[in-house]
C-alpha cells in the first residue's frame, strides 16, 4: 500500500498524527508531512483509519 497526501487540501487538523504518528507528522503550519509513503502491513489499519478520519480527504491510499 502506498500513501499519498494532498498538502494543499490539508486543514491541519492533526487527526492523522494522532492515529498514525509513525506515518504522518505536521509542519509548523500544521500541514501534513508524510514520514513513510510505504508503511509496513502492521500499520495498515492505522493508515486506513487516518485516511478515513481526515476531515479534508487529503490522504489517499493506493493499493499495491
Amino acid at each position: 500500500m502506498r500513501v499519498e497526501v494532498d498538502q494543499p487540501k490539508c486543514v491541519a487538523s492533526g487527526q492523522c498524527v494522532l492515529v498514525a504518528p509513525q506515518v504522518f507528522d505536521q509542519d509548523d503550519e500544521g500541514i501534513v508531512q508524510l514520514l513513510d509513503a510505504t508503511p509496513g502491513p502492521e500499520l495498515d489499519e492505522d493508515v486506513r483509519e487516518s485516511a478515513a478520519i481526515c476531515p479534508a480527504a487529503a490522504i489517499r491510499l493506493v493499493e499495491a
Binding site: V11, G14, Q15, G30, A52, I53, P55, A57, R60
Partner: protein, 407 residues
C-alpha cells in the same frame, strides 16, 4: 443474548458522516447490501471549502468531491443520489424515499445533516444561503469586484464568507446582533480579535445590530433594513443565522427528536438505528453532557463510531470524542479542541492577541473544557487536546504546560 449481524444496511445522508459510516462498515468486513441515500444529486462532497476555496475560486468545484469514482465503486454501494428520504417506519424497518421507493433495512444510520435557518426573505432573488455546492457557485458568480455584499450573521460561516468576499474585492458589510461576534461560542477575547481582523481587512462590521428585513426593487434585493430604521444598500445578501437539523422525515418514526435525533452515548437512537454527524444529538460521556456538533471532524468520527456500534452492539463503545473545529479567515487559522460553548471562563494562556497569535483555554466549573489557537502553529494544541481527552481539571491543566500523557 446476541443479535443477528445485519445483512441489509441503509445509510441515509451521503455527505461526510454518511460516507464515512459506509466506508467503515466495509472496512470492518461487512459484506451485506449497503445503500447510501443522498438528497443532493452530487456524489459525496465536502462542505468546509464551500465558504473558503470554492467561494474565492481558488478551487474548481470538482475538488470538493470526497472520493474518486474508483474509490466509491470499491465500496459496492447501492448509491441513491438526488432523492431525499421522506419517512421512516421502524416497526416495518422501512425507509421511504421522496419518489415513493421503499428500502427495507436491518441496520440504519441516519446522517441527514442540517440546512440553513431561513428567513421569509430568503426566497427573494439576490438573497442567498450557503450550505450546498450550488449555493456556493451562485454566490461566487455574484461576488465580482465592486459588488456590495451584506452578510447577516457573524458566526463562523458568515465571517468566512465575509473574508472570502473581501479577498475577491467586494464591498462587505457584516451585521451581527451580539455586541461581540462569536463571544458565546469562543469567548470575548477571540471574538473581539476576529472583529478587529475583519475591520482591518475593510469589512464594515456592525455589531449590536438587528436586521428587520430586506429591501427590494424590481423583484430583487436592494439592501438590508435594520431595526433602527436605516438601510444598508446591497447587490446581494447572505443569510448566515445558523442551521436546523433535517429531521422532518423522522417526525412519524417514533424516534425522539429534540434539536436533532436524540441518541444515547453509543450514538444509538433505537435498536439497530444510529445517527451521526450534524443531525445527531448524543450524550458525550467525556464532557458529561448532551451535545450536537456541527463540525466536519465530528461527522467522520461519529460516522465511524455509529458504523462500528451498529455492527457489534455487544461490544459497543461510547462515543466520547474531543470535538474539534477550524476556521480560515484571510490568512488566519483558528483551531480548537473541546466543548467551548457555555464556558465559565476563557483565559489567554499563551501568546498575545496584540501580536496576532495566542492560545485560549476554557473552563467550565472546575474542568478544562476547551482550547483554541489563533494564528499559532497547530502543534501547540496537542498537549491541550491530550489534557482534554484525559479529563484534566482546570488547575492542573494551567500548572505549566499540560503533560501529553494520553495513552
Amino acid at each position: 443474548m446476541t443479535s443477528v449481524p445485519p445483512r441489509r444496511i441503509v445509510v441515509v445522508g451521503a455527505s461526510a458522516a454518511g460516507l464515512t459510516a459506509a466506508e467503515t462498515l466495509r472496512r470492518a468486513g461487512y459484506d451485506g447490501s449497503l445503500t447510501l441515500v443522498g438528497g443532493e444529486p452530487h456524489p459525496p462532497y465536502d462542505r468546509p471549502p464551500l465558504s473558503k476555496q470554492v467561494l474565492t475560486g481558488a478551487w474548481e468545484p470538482e475538488r470538493v468531491h470526497l472520493r474518486r469514482p474508483a474509490d466509491l465503486d470499491a465500496l459496492a454501494l447501492d448509491l441513491r443520489l438526488g432523492v431525499p428520504a421522506a419517512a421512516l417506519a421502524p416497526a416495518t424497518r422501512t425507509v421511504t424515499l421522496a419518489d415513493g421507493t421503499s428500502l427495507t433495512y436491518d441496520g440504519l444510520i441516519i446522517a441527514t445533516g442540517v440546512r440553513p435557518r431561513r428567513l421569509p426573505e430568503c426566497d427573494t432573488p439576490g438573497v442567498h444561503v450557503l450550505r450546498e455546492l450550488g449555493d456556493a457557485l451562485a454566490l461566487r458568480e455574484r461576488l465580482t469586484a465592486g459588488g456590495r455584499l451584506v452578510v447577516v450573521g457573524a458566526g463562523f460561516l458568515g465571517a468566512e464568507v465575509a473574508a472570502a468576499a473581501r479577498t475577491l474585492g467586494a464591498t462587505v458589510t457584516l451585521v451581527e446582533p451580539a455586541p461581540v461576534p462569536l463571544a458565546h461560542a469562543v469567548g470575548q477575547q477571540v471574538g473581539a480579535h476576529l472583529a478587529q481582523v475583519h475591520r482591518d481587512h475593510g469589512v464594515d462590521l456592525r455589531t449590536g445590530t438587528k436586521v428587520a428585513g430586506i429591501t427590494t426593487g424590481a423583484g430583487r434585493a436592494t439592501g438590508v433594513l435594520l431595526s433602527d430604521g436605516s438601510t444598508i444598500p446591497a447587490d446581494d445578501v447572505l443569510i448566515a443565522v445558523g442551521s436546523e437539523p433535517n429531521t422532518e422525515w423522522l417526525e412519524d418514526s417514533g424516534l425522539r427528536l429534540a434539536d436533532g435525533v436524540v441518541c444515547d452515548r453509543y450514538s444509538a437512537a433505537a435498536p439497530g438505528i444510529y445517527a451521526a454527524g450534524d443531525v445527531a444529538r448524543w450524550h458525550n460521556p467525556l464532557f458529561g453532557t448532551d451535545m450536537r456538533v456541527e463540525h466536519r471532524t465530528n461527522a467522520a468520527e461519529q460516522g465511524m463510531a455509529a458504523a462500528r456500534n451498529l455492527l457489534a452492539p455487544e461490544q459497543a463503545k461510547p462515543f466520547a470524542p474531543v470535538p474539534s473545529f477550524w476556521s480560515d479567515q484571510y490568512d488566519l487559522r483558528i483551531q480548537a479542541f473541546g466543548h467551548l460553548r457555555d464556558h465559565d471562563e476563557a483565559r489567554v494562556v499563551d501568546g498575545d492577541p496584540a501580536d496576532g497569535g495566542f492560545l485560549v483555554a476554557y473552563r467550565r466549573g472546575t474542568a478544562l473544557t476547551g482550547a483554541l489557537a489563533v494564528g499559532m502553529p497547530p502543534r501547540v494544541l496537542r498537549p491541550w487536546r491530550a489534557a482534554l481527552a484525559a479529563g484534566t481539571d482546570w488547575t492542573r491543566a494551567l500548572d505549566g504546560p499540560p503533560e501529553a500523557d494520553q495513552t
